[in-house]
Symmetry: C2
Amino acid sequence: MIQAQNEELLERAQKVVPNGMYGHLSVKMQSPRTPQYYKRAKGAYLWDYDDQQYIDYLCAFGPNLFGYAHEEIDAAYIEQLREIDTATGPSARMVELAEGYAEQVTHNDWTMFCKNGTDATTMALMTARAHRGKRKILLATGAYHGATKWCTPMPEGTLPEDRAHHIYYEYNNAESLRAAVEEAGDDLAGIFATPFKHEVIFPQLLPDEEYARAARQLCDEKDALLILDDVRAGFRVDRDCSWQKLGIQPDLSSWGKTLANGHALSCLMGSDRAREAAGKIFVTGSFWFGAAAMAAGLKTLELIKSTDYIERTVMLGDRLRDGLNQVSANTGVEIDQTGPSQMPLIMINDDEGNRNMPGCVAFCDALLDHGVLFHPFHNMFITPAMSEADIDRTVEACDEVAKQFHSLTMLEFSL
Amino acid sequence: MIQAQNEELLERAQKVVPNGMYGHLSVKMQSPRTPQYYKRAKGAYLWDYDDQQYIDYLCAFGPNLFGYAHEEIDAAYIEQLREIDTATGPSARMVELAEGYAEQVTHNDWTMFCKNGTDATTMALMTARAHRGKRKILLATGAYHGATKWCTPMPEGTLPEDRAHHIYYEYNNAESLRAAVEEAGDDLAGIFATPFKHEVIFPQLLPDEEYARAARQLCDEKDALLILDDVRAGFRVDRDCSWQKLGIQPDLSSWGKTLANGHALSCLMGSDRAREAAGKIFVTGSFWFGAAAMAAGLKTLELIKSTDYIERTVMLGDRLRDGLNQVSANTGVEIDQTGPSQMPLIMINDDEGNRNMPGCVAFCDALLDHGVLFHPFHNMFITPAMSEADIDRTVEACDEVAKQFHSLTMLEFSL
C-alpha cells in the first residue's frame, strides 16, 4: 500500500492545523495506515491521494445516506445555488422543507434549521429549559450529544459549570431513569435519549420499551420535554422518528447528518407542546438559512419517501452480518456485531468476550490492503449505493484477514 | 408595493416554524413591510417573491463579500462538489486553505475549520481555558460573540452557570479592562475583543490604540490568550486580521461570514503560542470538513489577494456617507453614520442626538418603495458588486424619504 501522497499532505497539515487534524475525522484513533485524506468520493467508494479505492463503511460518519456525489441531490443543490443560497432572508425552500418534515415525522409540528448536529442538541436543551424555566437535564451516561462546551466527551477547555444541572442515568434502565427524575425534583426540564445505545466500543443496544415508555410518562407527569437525539440514526432506522416503531413520540428531536446527503444541514423538530418555548430562545447562525442545502434536503426527503433505501440497507447489512458470522464460525475469530443491521458496530472480542482493541485495530489495518474501510470501534453505516458484490467482497476480505488473524501484529493506536 | 407571495409564505411558515421565523434573519425587528423571503440573489441585488428588486445593504448580514451568486467562487464550489465534499476524511483543500491563511494572516500559524461563527468563538473560549487551565474570560459589555448557550444576547433557555467566570469590561476603556484583569487575579484565561465596537443601535466605535495595546500587554503579563472576534469584520476592514493596522497581533482570531462568500465556512485561527491548547480540545461537526466550501474559500482568498475589493468598498461607502451627509444637511433629518465606511451603521437621531427608533423604522420602511434595503439598527455592509450608480440611486432615495420624513407615520417594530 503506497501512501506517499497521504504522507506528504499529513506533513504539510502538521504545520498549519493543530496535530495535523482534529475531531472525529482524525485517523489518530484508527488503524495506523488509514488514509487521512481523500480526493474522490462516488457512491459507496472513496479514493485516497495514492489512488487506492475503498468500499467506505464509515459513510462520512453518517451523512452519506444515498451514496456520495448523488447526481439528483447535487443537481438540486446546484440549481438552487444559481438562484439564491445564503442571503438576507431565507427562500421558500425553508417553508417547503419544514412542511415536508411536518408531513413525514409524526411528532413534528415545527422545525428550526441549523448547521451542526450539536446546534440541534443545544437548541433542544435550551428549549427544554425555556419551556417552564426549570433547569435539570437528564442524560444517559456516556451518550454522545455533540462536541461543544456542554457536551464534548473530552473535558479539556470546559468547566464543571458547563454541565451544571445535568443528571445522568443508565440507558435502557427505567429504574435508573426514575431515580434521576426523583433527584431532579420540581426542577426537571427535559430528558435526553438517543434512539438506541450507540456509543463507541460498547455493544450497541436497541431501546428497551419499558425504558422508552417510562421516559415519555415521566416527562408528561413532570411537564418536562422528552428529547430524542436522532442526529446519528435519523432516517436510517425509520422514515419517521426512530422511536416511531415503539409508538413513543418525543416533544423534541434533533437531526443532522443524513438530512441533505452530506450537504450541511441539521435541525430541531418539535411538537406543538414545545412550540412556545422554542419560539423564545435566541439562536442563529450566518449560514443556517442557505437555500441550496435545503433544496438538497427536499430532494433527499423525496428519495426517503419514494425509494426502498431502508429495506435495501437492512438487506445489505444482514448479508454482511450473516457473512461475518460465517467468517467467525470458519476461523474462530470472535467478531462481535451489534446494533441495527444498517448501522453495525463490528469489533473483535477475545476468547472471554472482552474487546480485543489491538486486534480490532490490526483487523481494520489489514482490511485496508483489500480496499475495505472499517472503523475499529465506532459504529458504521450501510448505504444503498453499495452492491451485493461489494458486501460479498467485504466478507471475503474479512475471511482472508480472519484466517491470518493470529499471525497479525496486534496494533495500538498511533496517537 | 405588492406582497401577496411574501404574505402567503409567511402564513405557511407560521404553521411549521416557531413564530414563522427566528434568529437574525427574522424581519420582526425590521420595518413592517420588509420581505421575509427572497427568491433570487445576484451581485448587489435581491428579488422578493413579489418580483420587487432591492439593492441589498444587509449582504446576508455579512457573508456577501464579493456579490451574490459569484460565478468564479460558485464554479470552484461546484467543481469540488463533483469530486468530493463531506466524506470520511477531509480533502487536500483543507491543507491548502490552512496554508493560505497562514500566509495571509500575520498572527496565523494554524487554522481549525468549523461551520458557524459561534463555533469559532466557542473554540476560542475553550482553547483559552485549555491553555493554562485557568477559567476567567473577559468580554466587553454588550459585545456579540454568537448565539448559543454561553453567548446568546437573550437569556431564555440559558442559566447563569452558562456564563460562569465571565467578567465584563467597557470596550475601548483600558482602565476598565485593567480592573477586570485585576478581578480575574491568577485565573485569567483570555480576553475577547471585537475589532471595533459593532453592537446594534449604539454608535460604532473604531478601536482605541491604548485599549488594544493594553489588551495585548495584559495577556502577555498574565499568560492569557488575546482573542480577536473577527467573525463580522474579518477580510472586510483588512486583508489581514482587523487589528493589523494597529500592529496588535491576537493569539486567536475567530472568522466566519466572508470566508467563502456565503458558502458555510468558519474557522479559528491561532498562533503557535496557542497551538498546544487548541490541540487538546475536542470539538467537531458532521460537515466541518466538507471540501466544496473550502474550495470556495480558496477562490475567495484568491480574490481577496488579487482584487481592489476593500479599496472599492471604502470608496463606495464614502460615496454613500458623503451623499447622506448632504441629505442630512439638505433636509435637517439627522442621519447618524458610524463605523468603517464599508460597514456603516446608519440611524436617524432626534434633535437631541438620541436614537429616533420609530423614525429609523419608518425611514427603512419608506426606502423599500425605492428598492433599497436598509436595516433600522444593525450595521450594514457594502459589496464591490455595487456600482456607483447604485450608491447614487440610494442617496436619491434617501433624499426623497428624508424630504417627507416629518410627514411619515413613525413606526414601531411589528413584534
